[in-house]
Symmetry: C2
Subunit: 213 residues, 2 copies
DNA sequence: TAACTGACTGACCGATCGGTCAGTCAGTTT
DNA sequence: AAACTGACTGACCGATCGGTCAGTCAGTTA
């Protein structure tokens, strides 16, 4: 196999990477069908035929984008592991970092949300599972640990708790443009305050208070 | 103006209504750009040109669909008003009914979620506000009433509480196809159990316990 | 009856779509 | 040098897109 020169810089547009990046942005913003190969090639400053040379078809390109988004997403979520303090503090940290990572990678987030919306048992949904799967289990384990340590009520379903945490963060991202126009909502541009408020309620609701049965 | 015969049945496909209905389903399932006028006309059993006769353009049709979805959505949400019991019980009922109405009208829900995802300050986002706006305020008021009655902690942001409730329900709908494949999640096909569990945590987290400061 | 309406249709249009193909070119490999 | 590679391009293709148009037709109005 012939190796390209590949100057010692990473990911900087050497054709294929540029296409992938342009496609990620456009697919995330407009969706699969609303984006033409010509538009992607144009944004990547590349000939249209070159896109097919690298990715075979539009669907091939989309899958490649999705694959790279999933990989990136996994890496992001894996960075959420390290946490300090007691179990409650860990959950709090996890939630805050999770929200920050979602907001910090809007293209990836949007892409995955779109894929989830499309639903069905078709394209990429299994990929969406793959993203969530492992890391969701990790969060569930975190909740379970909180129950074992006695900090959280043992009768709660840890998966439901984890779902609620994820739901709160995902919703903050996807509804941001709507929330901005609802007068009652003051926290629309302060994700950390939002996360803190959410976790205040959740942890208080899950806390195992000694006098309680 | 000439009045069409309009036999005494409602909404049953007399051309325009059939187009609107077909368009709602297809737009919700695949998105604006993925659906052709031909496909809509075909599903409505109508000539393609007839679609333009009634709605002018594809965007006109889409806006009409969105408008009808908004109207329908408002009607649905307005039915959520009546609730009995104390404030906590009212919130519990609201959440359960809200989730049920989302799940019971998947096309409308999907359409609105799609519109929110598209974001920006463009098309229909203001419509999305119009849907949420009033009814969200209503939910916030419900939370405030709970605080006034002393059942809920007064220092909580009622808008944040309301957001959390909506987030939990919306997420259940949009992530349903993913949750189904996550082994830890047992409640994926039991929305009422989910809603009950969520509200158990939330209300417990918001409850104003006498001994607490 | 005659004029007119809006619902509806089939045939057609230019533009754009995803995709193909023959070929150029810089850099390896032998 | 010759053979070969993969990255890349411009020109082209059939299909389908959104949209138009002239015209048919049932029912209303006058």
């Amino acid at each position: 196999m012939y190796s390209t020169a590949q100057p010692n810089s990473e990911s900087i547009s050497s054709g294929e990477a540029a296409i992938l990046e342009a496609a990620e942005v456009l697919f995330a913003e407009k969706g699969f069908d609303a984006v033409s190969i010509r538009a992607i090639a144009g944004k990547a400053d590349v000939c249209k035929a070159n896109v097919f040379h690298h990715f075979g078809s539009k669907e091939g390109l989309y899958l490649a984008v999705l694959r790279s988004a999933v990989t990136e997403s996994k890496q992001i979520l894996e960075e959420l592991e390290g946490a300090s303090g007691n179990q409650q503090e860990r959950l709090r940290q996890f939630a805050g970092r999770h929200l920050r990572s979602i907001l910090g990678h809007p293209h990836v987030s949007r892409l995955i949300l779109r894929e989830a919306l499309e639903g069905g048992s078709e394209r990429g949904k299994e990929l969406a599972e793959k993203i969530v799967g492992d890391n969701f289990s990790q969060l569930v384990d975190l909740c379970r640990a909180g129950q074992k340590s006695g900090e959280l009520r043992p009768e709660l379903d840890p998966a439901l708790v984890a779902t609620l945490m994820v739901a709160a963060n995902v919703f903050f991202f996807e509804a941001a443009s709507v929330m901005r126009h609802i007068p009652e909502i003051k926290f629309y541009d302060d994700p950390q305050a939002y996360s803190a408020g959410v976790m205040d309620i959740l942890l208080n609701g899950m806390a195992n208070k000694k006098g309680e049965r």
